[in-house]
């Protein structure tokens, strides 16, 4: 009964999303106020229906209803309650429902957040979001309905993919999807501006909080995924340039470009059509990412959701959505010229180069991502593109970008130049170079040429971010939240760069075979294999080793790396033991039984690796801090006062 209720709710949600799209787009276009007003109830109704469907699927998981195919395939009565809930998004159909649910949440938030904006504009935003809902609801109902029943029901389920049975990964999809779907809101704002044929600074100010929030969630989602990969995949890596990782990284790069371009549009009324294009491309890359992951055209670590037939639907949806947006763009964008000017050394120029470099990096990854597919399509043979391609080509655009960051933060608008900040920045650079070289050559050993350079850049970015807040504090001027947010986010970037450099340049790693009592040395630490014992989990067994870690004869820590065998899926996963010691991460992963009491281990000492994720989280925190700036709230209420009854702007022309 409950699954049927969920199915019914989904169908109603589809009908409501059609109404939402129709009223939202046709109402303002034809100047029918009652149609326009009907959008809000449609949004609310859709939210209730989608939440009901989500609740029904969750109930089926919690209640172990193995007559539902999706539950039977992705859960098991031995699965702990937490993972039965996370199981909802453990595979394809459910993660689509999660996508739809988050879209409904964002749409509701957008309906509330745009309530103070001009009514026609708000309706158009919700209308565009409605068209996205239609696509995803149709997709779910036609190709991947999670409520399909089994007859007869199974006695027990097949269980959840063991790699998903981890708190980090259980949280990863919802957070990442919140970011993906958030880009849909930025896209909808762009769509509404295109439909209206009007784009001004107000628009940029309305859009910024949404774009920044989506970006912050995307940042957190990618960080969670990377952290999870580090401690479960058993090899202590944190980024693999895996096709699915790239699929989430490309929208992030576009989103980063978008939030910087929006800053210029809000401040100077410039880069209007470029900002719109970025909003369209950012969301398109989310859709392309979804398509690439779901369609099975990619060979990836993450392809557990591959299902070739479903790809065609997304591809069609993708072509319609992106095609319509780009056509509208080609028609409207030329009308959105601005007459503002700026010099080569102005902040506008630096932000323009920021965008060029970010988009180049994104395009490079896209080329690497598509090359294997193109190569097969053109009968040029199978091709692999991995880290040896992505690492150097990514640096080609990222190193110049890092050099430009301090200038971009301090250059003056319009007329350009650094003013009195020039001297401060030079001092900061000298200090950063000292710190960078001291760390690269003093603290660590064996630095190449790249390590001191990028350490210096990281330190310079941090110091440069601090100049403005310190200046304001000294002069007792208030620091607006937007400035504080920018400062924090750029400090996060600096921390990230330094950590990344340390990890790339100074990791000590080796695989060893040990018998009980034997020890090995790695990165200045001694690892002694004490014992191994069997492991008993709720739905897994396995082995756990005990490793005594010491340094210069003094005990540092005791580590328990595990190897788990999940009964239901017959799958082995590695749970590395990780210890954080003086800024370094010590990682021990348990390998296999080599016979005669010998076991293999991976020992790894990675300096500062923790700060890669901390840096990324600081960036996200900076974004969230920036959107609490007063002007985003003030601006809206002033708008309501000024707006009054609005004429139906341009009857669709």
């Amino acid at each position: 009964m409950i699954p049927e209720l969920g199915q019914f709710a989904l169908i109603l949600a589809l009908l409501l999303s059609v109404l939402q799209a129709f009223f939202g787009i046709a109402g303002p276009a034809l100047g029918r106020e009652r149609w326009t007003a009907a959008v809000i109830p449609a949004v609310a109704g859709q939210f209730v229906m989608v939440s009901t469907a989500m609740g029904c699927l969750m109930a089926a998981f919690i209640g172990n209803d193995f007559s539902v195919r999706y539950v039977a395939e992705n859960s098991n009565s031995a699965l702990p309650l937490f993972y039965r809930i996370a199981g909802v998004w453990g595979a394809h159909s459910g993660s689509l429902l999660l996508w739809i649910f988050l879209l409904a949440c964002w749409t509701l938030a957008a309906a509330i957040g745009t309530a103070r904006l001009p009514r026609n504009f708000a309706a158009r935003v919700l209308g565009v979001l409605g068209t996205i809902s239609i696509g995803f609801l149709l997709y779910t109902l036609i190709t991947s309905n999670p409520f399909v029943r089994l007859d007869p029901p199974w006695a027990d389920g097949m269980g959840l993919n063991p790699i998903l049975q981890d708190p980090g990964l259980a949280a990863h999809p919802p957070v990442l999807y919140t970011g993906y779907v958030g880009l849909a809101v930025a896209f909808a704002f762009a769509g509404a501006a295109l439909l209206e044929g009007r784009l001004d600074r107000e628009w940029a100010r309305w859009t910024r909080p949404w774009a920044t929030t989506a970006w912050a969630f995307l940042t957190c989602g990618i960080t969670l995924g990377s952290w999870w990969a580090y401690y479960t995949l058993g090899w202590g890596g944190f980024w693999f340039w895996d096709p699915v990782e790239n699929a989430s990284f490309m929208p992030w790069l576009m989103g980063t470009a978008l939030i910087h371009s929006l800053a210029v549009t809000e401040k100077r009324g410039l880069f209007k059509s470029w900002t719109l294009l970025l909003a369209v491309l950012g969301f398109s890359l989310s859709l392309i990412g979804t398509f690439l992951v779901r369609s099975g055209v990619l060979i990836s670590v993450h392809s557990f959701v591959a299902s070739p037939g479903r790809g065609e639907f997304i591809l069609t949806f993708l072509v319609i959505m992106i095609g319509a947006a780009l056509a509208l763009y080609a028609w409207r964008a030329p009308q959105m010229q601005s007459e503002a000017g700026f010099e080569l050394s102005a902040r506008e120029s630096f932000l323009l180069f920021n965008n060029i470099l970010l988009v180049t990096a994104c395009g490079t990854i896209f080329a690497g991502e598509m090359a294997p597919i193109i190569s097969i399509a053109l009968h040029l043979g199978k091709l692999s593109v991995g880290p040896p391609y992505f690492n150097p080509t990514f640096l080609v655009s990222m190193l110049p970008l890092l050099v430009l960051v301090p200038f971009g933060m301090h250059a003056r608008w319009k007329r350009g130049g650094l003013g009195e900040r020039g001297r401060t920045l030079s001092i900061a650079l000298a200090a950063a170079a000292l710190i960078g070289c001291a760390v690269a050559f003093g603290v660590f050993t064996g630095a190449g040429i790249l390590s001191p350079v990028s350490m210096t850049l990281g330190a310079w970015i941090i110091l440069a971010s601090l100049i403005d807040p310190i200046d304001r504090l000294r002069r007792r001027i208030a620091i607006p939240r937007a400035v504080l947010g920018m400062t924090v986010a750029h400090i996060g970037l600096g921390v990230f760069v330094i950590a990344m450099t340390a990890v790339q340049g100074f990791t000590a790693e080796q695989d060893v075979a040990l018998t009980r009592g034997m020890s090995a040395r790695d990165g200045g630490y001694t690892f002694q294999f004490e014992r191994i014992k069997p492991l008993h989990g709720p739905n897994y067994g396995g082995a756990e080793a005990k490793i005594l870690v010491s340094r210069n004869g003094k005990p540092v820590t005791v580590m328990y790396p595990q190897k788990r065998t999940y009964w239901v899926q017959h799958m082995v996963t590695t749970h590395s033991a990780i210890d954080i010691n003086g800024g370094s991460n010590i990682l021990v992963a348990l390998g296999q039984d080599l016979g005669d009491g010998r076991w293999s281990f991976r020992l790894q000492v990675r300096p500062l690796v923790l700060y890669i994720w901390i840096g990324a989280l600081i960036m996200a925190a900076g974004g969230l801090l920036a959107i609490t700036d007063r002007r985003y709230r003030l601006a809206e209420s002033r708008e309501t006062a000024a707006a009054g009854p609005l004429p139906a702007a341009g009857t669709g022309s």
Binding site: S384, H536, F601
Partner: protein, 156 residues
């Protein structure tokens, strides 16, 4: 609980034999010299496993990968150059085995893409800036631009 222990051990042994994509190979080897060890590490990281989804030979748990690692070790010990080892594997498995696509006619576009994109971007940016710089004189927006954030201090 103890009832499960032998079963656990059995399963573990069984599963060690099966190719499970998420258990990575942790394969201790020692080459006679540090230079050979470094070359070995680099090679096994830059070849892909032919049976896994997106794994290097270094991390692949399947037996084919173990054989290939052994082959690389032997070739290194026999004095083959990296080039020769690459040729050996490409001849058998095609370019697919290389994580680093070769620079040949078919793949040149991939290697040129970053540079071309960057060049196009830079040229268009400079073009935009040149056009905008000409507009500075006619643009009278000035007053609120530097909100104490940078540059000349204004007195209210």
């Amino acid at each position: 609980m103890s009832r499960r222990a032998p079963l656990g051990a059995l399963m573990l042994t069984l599963l060690a034999l099966l190719a499970a994509p998420f258990a990575h190979a942790i394969a201790p080897t020692r080459m006679p010299t540090a230079a050979l060890e470094a070359r070995y590490e680099r090679l096994i990281h830059n070849f892909r496993c032919m049976q896994c989804q997106d794994e290097s030979l270094a991390n692949s748990p399947v037996s084919l990968a173990a054989d290939m690692r052994r082959q690389i070790r032997q070739m290194l010990l026999a004095g083959d150059t990296d080039q020769q080892i690459r040729h050996f594997f490409v001849a058998r498995y095609g370019y697919f085995i290389l994580f680093k696509p070769p620079f040949v006619l078919k793949t040149a576009w991939l290697w040129l893409a970053p540079g071309v994109l960057l060049a196009i971007g830079t040229v268009s940016a400079l073009w935009v800036i040149r056009r905008r710089a000409a507009l500075v004189a006619g643009d009278d927006e000035d007053e609120f631009l530097d909100d104490g954030l940078t540059g000349p201090r204004k007195h209210p």
